[in-house]
């Protein structure tokens, strides 16, 4: 009896998931010691002290909260009470805008660096120094110069998405096979047409790999950036719920961040497959 690997893997995945949820459930079941206290005082205390409930929410609590958010993702009841969908929308919009700006800068610049050994050598020290800077380190400078927290967050996304795309584009263009370039040369193809018909298609898989790394980093950074700038976004939501001591909401948000991150990564993975050519 042979079953497909995918099916067997899915079964094992489900088993792991069930084991994890069960362990979580058992660990947060409660049954801690309760202390007899004055009913008036008990009202001020949480369920942990009065009923011996675990301070950590269990899987059922999280599932319930998640279901509540999914049922009504777009409500807006004031500054600190917006639906999860709205918060995610803000984060995705910021990432999208910052990322798009980075694409517009990184790809043309990367093509130029990749085509010109002079530019490659001349710009290398700048890239090497700027690349390892944590994008959040730019935040104060951005806030000071831009004077707008929303745009500053977008700038931070821009700066963190830039480097992987720039470096990969330059590398991809510089390592396009000599013979393909020679084909274009013997056909007297002009520079611009050569870029679009030979260099970019040949380097596309490498460029898309850089773009995939960038979107991953951008999604990591947006949470931290929104915790700092506040107002809206999934990062702000996490921090706000921490201030509310709503661990259930924090765990729910963590889960949702993971799922969105995966979707973004898969979109880019699919795009990479679309431009990859077999040799």
């Amino acid at each position: 009896m042979t079953r497909s690997l995918t099916l067997r893997a899915a079964v094992v995945s489900l088993l792991f998931f069930a084991a994890f949820v069960l362990a979580w459930h058992l660990a947060t079941r409660g049954a801690g010691a309760t202390v007899a206290m004055d009913p008036e005082y008990a009202k001020l205390m949480g369920a942990t002290a009065t009923q011996g409930k675990s301070a950590m929410p269990g899987p059922l609590d999280v599932a319930q909260t998640l279901w509540g958010h999914l049922k009504d993702p777009f409500y807006d009841r004031g500054t600190n009470d917006k639906g999860l969908g709205i918060q995610l929308g803000w984060s995705i919009a910021r990432v999208g805008l910052g990322y798009l700006l980075a694409v517009l800068v990184a790809i043309p610049l990367g093509v130029m660096i990749g085509m010109s050994p002079l530019m490659s050598k001349a710009l290398d020290p700048f890239i090497q120094i700027l690349k390892p800077i944590s994008p959040l380190a730019w935040m104060p400078l951005a806030l000071y110069t831009i004077k707008d927290s929303g745009i500053s967050a977008i700038f931070v996304i821009f700066i963190c998405s830039l480097w992987p795309m720039l470096v990969n584009t330059a590398f991809g263009i510089a390592s396009v096979r000599r013979e393909w370039i020679n084909v274009a040369r013997t056909l007297e193809v002009g520079t611009l047409r050569r870029i679009f018909t030979v260099l970019l298609p040949a380097a596309a898989p490498t460029i898309l790999t850089g773009m995939r790394i960038s979107i991953g980093i951008a999604w990591l950074v947006i949470v931290a950036a929104e915790m700092l700038v506040g107002g809206t976004g999934i990062g702000y939501f996490v921090w706000n719920e921490w201030n509310n001591l709503s661990i259930t909401n924090v765990i729910t948000a963590i889960l949702v961040i993971g799922v969105v991150g995966m979707i973004l990564d898969q979109l880019l993975a699919r795009a990479t497959r679309a431009v990859t050519f077999p040799e």
Binding site: R177, W180, N182, V183, T186, E188, F277
Partner: protein, 305 residues
């Protein structure tokens, strides 16, 4: 001096050597080529024959000398000179049609898509790949890929076709078929060809003239062998021609011994501008058939009995 269609005039190639000075790959090469002629350059690896071809293609510049094509010194790559690369060099993200059409649309920029595809289809048919237009290079065998490379090069209707060991990566059977195709196409179209090879039999089958290059560094063109075999030679019996082994032995002797032993004194004695032309001959063998003499090869002279 009559002007040849293509003329290599005193080209040399030098590279800066480690520790100053320069390494000379080849030196002071002169070679005229007539319109419609099929010329092969043969020599060992490192004699710079690929560089000679790249200079003609305009992909490389000689350190000295010029190449003249149709009364014009070449400045760089041109659509007049098509290259068939050793590794086929097809663009793997394009289909067969895409690859050929890319060349056609580069040649005739104003043509519409329909015109380009129609022209490309003609050349895809010429190399026997009709029906494979929508395939990508990865789906083709090595021989089919090289056919696409040939179609792409011919489709721009170049003044000269430059081939850099085009069949060396193919298996013997495919190589034979492709040589037949190339010979047929070049004869039909009167294409001028320069081919680089190190396969003696290939050179003898295809070329009108075989240029022998000595070993590098400081390689020179030592000799031009005129192919004495009839133009209507066919693959299956070319080796039965009485002169076949005369030519073959001459070229092999050169490659085995003379390419190495060609001394500085020999180089000094060589008239670079008019390299000796050799036309290997042999005693005319005849076959006795009853009481009449039958030539052993159509075209070979029958001795009077």
């Amino acid at each position: 001096m009559t002007q040849s269609f293509i003329s290599i005039e005193g080209i040399s190639k030098r590279f800066p050597a480690a520790g100053g000075g320069a390494t000379t790959v080849f030196e002071d090469l002169w070679l005229p080529m007539e319109r419609g002629a099929f010329t092969c350059i043969i020599g060992h690896s490192g004699c710079g024959k690929t560089t000679v071809l790249n200079v003609l293609a305009g992909l490389d510049r000689p350190s000295e000398g010029v190449v003249i094509v149709d009364n014009q010194a070449i400045e760089g790559p041109s659509l007049d000179r098509a290259v068939i690369f050793q590794s086929h060099a097809l663009l793997p993200w394009l289909t067969v049609m895409g690859n050929v059409a890319y060349a056609v649309s580069s040649r005739w920029r104003r043509w519409s898509r329909v015109e380009v595809e129609e022209h490309a289809r003609k050349f895809i048919a010429l190399v026997g790949l009709s029906g494979a237009e929508r395939k990508r290079p990865a789906e083709l065998s090595g021989g089919m890929k090289q056919r696409v490379g040939i179609a792409r090069a011919l489709s721009i209707e170049p003044k000269i076709l430059l081939m850099d060991e085009p069949f060396s990566a193919l298996d013997a059977l495919t190589r034979g078929t492709l040589q037949d195709e190339v010979r047929r196409i070049c004869r039909e179209t009167g294409q001028t060809v320069l081919m680089i090879t190190h396969d003696v039999d290939e050179a003898i089958y295809l070329a009108d003239r075989i240029v022998l290059m000595t070993n590098g560094p400081q390689a020179v063109m030592a000799e031009i062998v005129e192919n004495p075999l009839p133009v209507d030679r066919a693959r299956n019996d070319v080796h039965k021609h009485p002169l076949y082994y005369a030519v073959r032995n001459h070229v092999v002797d050169f490659l085995v011994t003379r390419s190495r032993s060609f001394s500085d004194a020999d180089k000094a004695a060589l008239n670079r501008r008019a390299v000796p032309v050799v036309r290997p001959g042999a005693p005319e063998p005849v076959v006795l058939g009853g009481d009449t003499l039958t030539p052993s090869w159509p075209g070979s002279r029958v001795k009077e009995a």
